[in-house]
């Protein structure tokens, strides 16, 4: 029985909460048990933000993820803060375009993806979060790529349908990286 605890952390404005929402909606479409909990301190663009997502086959206990199985970090302060929190064997996804250092632990599996660079080169610089998410889906299988568009459609604002395709493109780019 899978019980996957995911922590996504970065600067406010990088789409940390949104990436978590896409995961949560996709998990829901797959009939998994889900919880999504944002940090809601006095955050603002440029401050730190994180969100806890649990995707599980069994009922979710505490929605707070303090020891993630999957850690996605989009800035250096988040890597510094959460590297030691990950469980042994955890998979860590790092935007290597924004974070220069490598991880120090040897008992966790690091994936370095220059997500921000990839997103910029595709002309969708704000979707580095989705690039990382694509890689997470590829490497962990926590949710599947199949039917991702339906989950995205529920997350992306109905006022901006063009963003749906852009998000899909970014996820695919991360998946293929």
């Amino acid at each position: 029985m899978a019980y996957t605890q995911i922590l996504i952390a970065g600067f406010g404005g990088q789409g940390v909460l949104f990436a978590g929402k896409v995961l949560a909606y996709k998990g829901l479409e797959e009939n998994k048990q889900i919880s999504w909990l944002p940090s809601y301190g006095p955050e603002m663009r440029g401050g730190t933000a994180n969100c806890s997502v649990i995707v599980s086959d069994t009922p979710v206990g505490s929605p707070i993820v303090s020891e993630p199985d999957i850690l996605i970090v989009m800035n250096l302060p988040s890597l510094d803060k959460y590297e030691n929190a990950a469980v042994p064997g955890a998979k860590v996804f790092i935007d290597s375009f924004l974070i220069e250092r490598k991880i120090e632990r040897t008992d966790i599996e690091a994936h370095y993806i220059p997500a921000t660079k990839i997103a910029r080169e595709m002309g969708i610089p704000t979707l580095a979060n989705m690039v990382l998410l694509g890689k997470v889906i590829k490497e962990t299988g926590v949710v599947s790529m199949e039917g991702l568009k339906d989950a995205l459609a529920k997350t992306v604002s109905a006022k901006h349908p063009e963003l749906l395709e852009a998000n899909l493109k970014a996820i695919q780019a991360g998946y293929d990286y």
């Binding site: 999504w36 301190g41 206990g61 505490s62």
Partner: protein, 352 residues
């Protein structure tokens, strides 16, 4: 019905609308503002009233007005705002008016912080305002319960002519989980006491909490406490979790119960028989099951996001037969499953 992902705060608002609530009065405060935001968006579209009052005090008195007219009505706030509402809540209770008050608690006292807390337990369950009265207090532990207990709160409030409080916390308000929303219900509770206009056909009704003749006021209080007895007998709700063979019984509600379940799983993995009683109604408090459980366990652990408030009710319920320890974090902090596990292990090992 398909499940949808919603924030707890939004689930409260949508469930209230489906329960027939068409009047919402409030004033913004973190971490419950999404309730008001949702109502602001939806109410105008369905012919309802959303009104951002000039203060929490105004909002609760507007609730008094609509309730007097026999309609379902609610307000929501967070701890400091709920303190401001206490006078109005006492008047609602003194006038036997049903209403829903939502408190998505944050750390206190004073302005405190904006992170989750359960430190308004005393205020919610022991009166809060002046005078002899109780609220029906419901404590959701999931987004599903945020929706379900909102509907339940309206029903109970109408049934007993009592104000009901949904006592949640910042985590419950902010988190998203799949929720199956309740069906739209035709709200048709008969309220012969309501101020609906006599049309010259009946004596006029009076909604009032002022009784200057002490005999009359005493009689009012006694009648109200007869109703409270019925509530205590018929409306207790709780969840048992792995309680059957438990040596250590955790008592926790809301987010603290969620964390406790993780700790109980961990304790069981270590061979410690731990179980949980999760009060869903905080008033009426599930006294009987706690008293019965006291016969079979070594002791209780009260897990709270407060400095030990519910622990008093546990001790009263089990008549101090077994030790009760407190495992708590406050100020917006939440006990970790490890901290709860430690408290369970200490109780199991007789260290308290």
């Amino acid at each position: 019905m398909a499940k949808v992902l919603m924030k707890g705060n939004e689930a409260i608002a949508e469930a209230a609308i489906r329960a027939g609530c068409r009047h919402y009065f409030g004033y913004p405060i973190t971490p419950q503002t999404e309730v008001a935001a949702y109502m602001a968006k939806r109410m105008p579209k369905i012919g309802g009233t959303f009104l951002q009052a000039e203060s929490e005090i105004s909002a609760i008195n507007m609730v008094y007005g609509v309730s007097s007219a026999g309609l379902r009505v609610m307000t929501s706030s967070s701890s400091p705002g709920v303190s401001l509402k206490q006078e109005g809540i006492s008047y609602l209770a003194g006038s036997d008016l049903p209403a829903l008050i939502v408190n998505v608690q944050r750390g206190g006292p004073g302005l405190g912080g904006i992170q989750p807390s359960q430190s308004d337990y005393f205020q919610a369950t022991k009166g809060g305002g002046h005078g002899d009265y109780h609220l029906i207090v419901l404590a959701p532990a999931s987004v599903q319960e945020m929706a379900d207990l909102t509907v339940k709160a309206f029903d109970l409030a109408d049934k007993y002519r009592m104000p009901a409080m949904l006592l949640a916390d910042g985590t419950m308000g902010q988190m998203m989980e799949p929720v199956e929303l309740p069906e739209e219900c035709a709200h048709s509770v008969d309220k012969p006491w309501a101020l609906t206009g006599t049309q010259g056909k009946r004596e006029h009704n009076i909604i009032n909490s002022l009784y200057l003749v002490p005999e009359q006021l005493e009689e009012k209080n006694l009648e109200r406490y007869e109703r409270y007895k019925t509530v205590e007998r018929d409306e207790v709700m709780y969840e048992e979790y792995m309680l059957d063979d438990a040596d250590v019984c955790v008592v926790a509600f809301g987010i603290a119960a969620r964390v406790s379940k993780n700790a109980i799983t961990a304790a069981r993995a270590k061979g410690i028989k731990a179980g949980l009683i999760r009060p869903i109604t905080l008033y009426p408090f599930p006294k009987d099951i706690i008293r019965k459980t006291a016969e079979n366990v070594k002791g209780f652990v009260s897990v709270e996001l407060s400095m030990g408030q519910m622990i008093d009710d546990i001790r009263l319920a089990e008549e101090c037969k077994k030790p009760v320890t407190l495992c708590s974090r406050v100020g917006g902090m939440i006990p970790s499953p490890e901290e709860v596990l430690k408290a369970i292990e200490d109780m199991e090992g007789g260290k308290f």
